[in-house]
Symmetry: C2
Amino acid sequence: MAKSSKSQFAILGMLAILKKSSGYDLKKHMESSTQYFWKETFSSIYPVLEDLEKQKLIVKVKKPTQNDRKRNIYKLTPEGHNTLKNWLIQPPEDMQLRNELLLKLFFGAIVPIEVSIEHLKKQKKELKNKLSTYQKIKNKLSENHSLESLYSLITLDHGIRHILTSIEWCDNAIKELKSAEQQTIK
Amino acid sequence: MAKSSKSQFAILGMLAILKKSSGYDLKKHMESSTQYFWKETFSSIYPVLEDLEKQKLIVKVKKPTQNDRKRNIYKLTPEGHNTLKNWLIQPPEDMQLRNELLLKLFFGAIVPIEVSIEHLKKQKKELKNKLSTYQKIKNKLSENHSLESLYSLITLDHGIRHILTSIEWCDNAIKELKSAEQQTIK
DNA sequence: AAGATCATGTAAATCGTTACATGATTGT
DNA sequence: ACAATCATGTAACGATTTACATGATCTT
């Protein structure tokens, strides 16, 4: 029934950073921070929280104020902290990735060149939008000088650098394809 | 029973490029071409091939020579070609990615800074190995001047650019963390 | 009063990976 | 003969996404 492995640690980690949180807030927080490299859905969060509680890695916090919404707020137990730390020191695994754009480009010779060019243009537009979002987040984060925000900045910087690289790659790929197109017409 | 969606098209596409192939060769081919952004296992390939055959998108090829190994060789049917083309012209979806290294770095403040630095150093080493492999493949591919190899080069170029960017990011992140380490010691 | 969003969950479908299983063929 | 690798598959498991379901609370 319960979910396991990676999702567990993501949720445990977020909970460690937020000190205490509900499943709902956990998700909202991930959306504005780890979304780019890690996301969870409610359908995984709630069962995982239940499971973590059963494992005594987290506990429900008694609400100090009574006029709070009916929601479950959790925090890590000392065992939860240890479990998280043990996971953090293990070398991360490279996770398999699938990139549909690249797959379609790889098969590009089967369809007209314009199809691939269009895919690339669309991708570039989306990347530019993402870039400006990330830049804004970076500006806000840069004001903060805690160690925690340094780690946020490092992961964000990964995103920005890769987006910039992707945009350059798109431009170059479009250029190459257009020149190939010219040659086949002649 | 059968596998579906993305895997189907990946296999259909590879089959289109190879003209005809066995499941085994399909896999070997992907290992030396699409591995970086798309891989399939035998456990998905064989059921998908069976399923594609049932859908009449591919057919078994009668072997011309008798001294061939006992293996099933498939090729696309006209319907298979159409199905593939229809998929290729649809805008690719951005697929969700999970990056465990980034997740662990994001939670970096929970463990000593050296832990994160070690993760980054290990990552950098792996990236350098990958880079030299990709460079070699690129050199070989560059000799060929077909349209098909242009598409291969474009996807490979994506890989190379992103690896270079990742290495730079690793270096920078390590630098930032070391400087933060100095400051916390003082 | 209505609509947005807060808040938590279940069930089913999908999907992919790992382990298991088997046997033929080729090269040394 | 033996090892490598060719070649095809099944079964079980693990994990995630989508759809479904419900109701409270806040805002206008």
